[in-house]
């Protein structure tokens, strides 16, 4: 089959590789119709995530048709049209039973590598480095999906591929980001980053009843989409306005009631602080550039929550711990426990509350994946979300 493979920093290539096969009795094989490039794939693409190897198949947002099931698969059948959640989860361990599927205790066969880097291991993830399992990803014609009866969600015909594939990661991730802010009546939520996940965090904050949502980015086309499609009430271009001052002014000096970091480890920060982080990151003295996170912590109202859904890989520098402790600020974070959000969010799509395909700006063939990575990483052509179609 054809698959998009990582071939070193800034280099991906669609190659011919062996077809996947059933490895465990609860696996299924999915013939992929639609797959996406995620913002977090750009961190792999740019070489910021350790334990990648040449030839790794990328991609963790995909959907398609079940074409083969293992002997212990009971519910799923060949021919079912499914979307696959990006965390791999067994459904039987303590964490899965508690609904924390991105912390599945059984799905990462390289848990010792993750534990060496992070203390303990999260779940395995499709196409996201060897420390998260070494699972082949979904930017391919086929994928092997473990725990077929627990992960993949069967889709009704009324939902399009372009809507459904957003349930694999970014819609649930944005939704969980908003949910972690414990939004109540009158709350103002600020969202750093108007990439696809940021757009869904904005839209979800509105769905969850936020009084006002403030969106922060530096690209006018992303801010425009945040206002026009995601439902942001106010947008701030951080290259033109001081974010902290603007937020204070907009909230009567209180600060936003919830701050969502949908940026992650490659934040662009203007001025000297930004240079400092860039220099330290390039010399590997810190893994991540936490500009957005620092600002979110300093900005949030006393006693409220900073919700971190942007991806961080390792260690950061100049963390404003004093602001956190003295002002009773809570930080919540996590890779999205996608399994518990897929059905409720599918219901919202079916009820017409949201059409998540609004983030898609580019659709191309799987064969052109390298072009997709290039324009997405450079934000060329007002790129926000790239969807790849296989030739099936």
């Amino acid at each position: 089959m054809r698959a998009n493979c990582w071939e070193g920093a800034k280099h991906v290539k669609v190659e011919t590789v062996p077809d996947p096969q059933i490895l465990n009795s609860t696996d299924c094989i999915v013939k992929i119709s639609t797959t996406c490039i995620c913002g977090s794939d750009l961190h792999l693409f740019n070489g910021f995530v350790p334990t990648m190897e040449h030839g790794d198949i990328m991609g963790h947002e995909f959907m398609g048709e079940v074409v083969e099931v293992g002997k212990n698969v009971k519910k799923l059948k060949t021919g079912d049209r499914v979307v696959v959640p990006f965390p791999i989860a067994c459904g039987k361990c303590y964490s899965c039973k508690k609904g924390m599927t991105s912390l599945c205790e059984n799905s990462n066969p390289n848990a010792h590598i993750a534990a060496a880097i992070m203390g303990h291991s999260p779940s395995g993830v499709f196409g996201y480095s060897h420390m998260l399992g070494g699972f082949a990803g979904g930017q391919a014609e086929y994928a092997r999906v473990p725990f077929a009866d627990f992960g993949p969600l069967k889709l009704p015909d009324s939902v399009t591929d372009e809507q459904a594939v957003m349930l694999a990661d970014i819609f649930p991730t944005g939704y969980m980001g908003a949910e972690m802010c414990d939004i109540g009546p009158g709350d103002t939520i600020a969202v750093w980053g108007c990439g696809p996940v940021g757009q869904f965090a904005i839209a979800s904050a509105k769905l969850l009843g936020a009084e006002r949502v403030i969106a922060i980015d530096r690209f006018p086309y992303r801010l425009r989409l945040a206002r026009e499609r995601a439902g942001a009430d106010i947008t701030i271009n951080y290259e033109e306005t001081s974010v902290m001052e603007a937020l204070r002014e907009l909230t009567g000096g209180r600060g936003p009631d919830g701050c969502i970091d949908a940026v992650g480890l490659e934040a662009h920060t203007p001025g000297l602080v930004g240079l400092y982080d860039k220099a330290k990151q390039s010399m590997r003295w810190e893994n991540d550039r936490p500009g957005a996170l620092r600002e979110a912590i300093m900005s949030v109202a006393n006693g409220r929550t900073v919700s971190v859904i942007g991806v961080y890989s390792g260690f950061i520098d100049k963390f404003p711990m004093g602001s956190l402790t003295n002002r009773s600020v809570t930080i919540k974070s996590g890779q999205c426990h996608v399994h518990r959000y897929m059905q409720p969010l599918l219901d919202r799509i079916e009820r017409g509350e949201i059409d998540p395909s609004f983030v898609i700006t580019h659709q191309m063939k799987l064969e052109d994946a390298a072009v997709g990575y290039d324009i997405f990483t450079h934000k060329d052509d007002e790129c926000l979300k790239v969807v790849l179609k296989t030739g099936h």
Binding site: Q21, G55, D56, Y94, N106, H112, G124, F135, P146
Partner: protein
């Protein structure tokens, strides 16, 4: 090492294999450090301690009575020299305190040697400086005395540098795990499994099941009467074999075994089952230890076990957890491959591990 002298205060199993220390049968997570981790080894013999006290004595004299010291070694008590002697005094006290307070003061002994060199250079310069009002006889005597102390410092420093800490001699309360300099390989790991202690014990009570999860074991065959034959994997398709016996077996709680005394491999192992709090199931604590038996073959065998990476036992226990909770071991495209490392892409069928090909 067979020839190694055990330092004062450390218990060391040595290479005679005559005594097995009991494996800890209580999980450390809640009962604290077992006895053998709480000993602080002291590497200092009488001479080293003498050098420590000597440093402090000399340092005190140089700081509080520099003029008398100057007189004793035959130097005129000019202010410049008095100042220098006081500085030397500070250095001496630092070295003395270092030697007396550190369990293994190798660094401080060598710092004394450096200090001796400075003293000698300074005294020699005073001797050759004929214009100064110095007593050359007393100076020569002082230089000779310093040379003597220097020799002692070098002897003690060399001794401590060449002596290695055995793996059991960790700092108080620390949980260092790993590969000791005497060739001991110590592995341990813990996992919490969503099943009762009885369900978990069921798997381990038959030692023949161990190779299903413990990666570095090839096979275990039970021989009856608590005895078993073990085979561990070694590089280049070789294997190491030994006979072992169960030394303790408390159903649903604890199993311990060790290699028989005449074997080339001195192996100890234990697995403890502790009910986890709440509805979390059972904590499994696995410990395995390999000591070389001495001799060239023993050392070579020990080297094989040293190649077991840290974290391997953790994955062994996670495989056990998968067997209990899922009924099979989870594979990814990378781990299913016979050839490692393998990229995260599907294998050609003939490159799959044999047990997966068979399915």
């Amino acid at each position: 090492m067979a020839t190694q002298q055990a330092p004062n205060g450390t218990r060391h199993n040595g290479s005679d294999g005559a005594t097995h220390r009991p494996m800890t049968n209580a999980p450390r997570s809640w009962k604290g450090a077992p006895e053998h981790y709480s000993e602080t080894p002291d590497w200092k013999d009488g001479t080293t301690k003498f050098l420590g006290w000597f440093s402090i004595g000399l340092g005190l004299a140089e700081i509080f009575a520099p003029r008398q010291v100057a007189k004793l070694v035959g130097i005129s008590d000019e202010d410049e020299y008095v100042g220098t002697l006081r500085q030397f005094g500070v250095r001496e006290i630092a070295a003395g305190l270092g030697i007396l307070t550190r369990p293994k003061p190798t660094y401080w002994l060598w710092s004394r040697v450096g200090g001796d060199a400075i003293d000698l250079a300074w005294l020699t310069r005073r001797l050759r400086d004929s214009e100064e009002d110095n007593d050359s006889t007393k100076l020569l005597a002082a230089i000779t005395a310093v040379l003597g102390v220097t020799a002692l410092d070098i002897i003690q420093g060399t001794k401590l540098t060449s002596e290695k800490l055995p793996s059991t001699g960790h700092d108080e309360g620390s949980f260092q795990v790993g590969k000791g300099d005497d060739g001991t390989v110590r592995l341990e790991a813990q996992v919490t499994v969503g099943a009762s202690p009885a369900e978990c014990y069921e798997f381990w009570k038959n030692l023949e099941n161990l190779p299903r999860v413990v990666g570095h074991l090839e096979s275990v065959r039970t021989l009856g009467e608590g005895r078993s034959h073990w085979k561990a994997k070694a590089p280049a398709g070789l294997s190491v074999e030994w006979d072992a016996e169960v030394i303790e077996d408390r159903p649903n709680e604890y199993i311990a075994w060790h290699a028989l005394e005449h074997e080339q491999v001195d192996n100890l192992g234990s697995v403890t089952f502790v009910p986890a709090p709440g509805d979390r199931g059972t904590e499994i604590h696995l410990e395995m230890e390999y000591h070389p038996r001495g001799g060239a073959i023993g050392a070579r065998i020990a080297n094989l076990f040293k190649k077991i990476p840290q974290g391997a036992l953790m994955m062994d226990l996670r495989r056990f957890k998968q067997l209990i909770e899922l009924g099979e071991v989870v594979q990814s495209d990378a781990t299913a491959s016979r050839k490692m490392p393998h990229p995260a892409q599907p294998n050609a069928t003939n490159e799959l591990k044999s047990e997966l090909r068979a399915q």
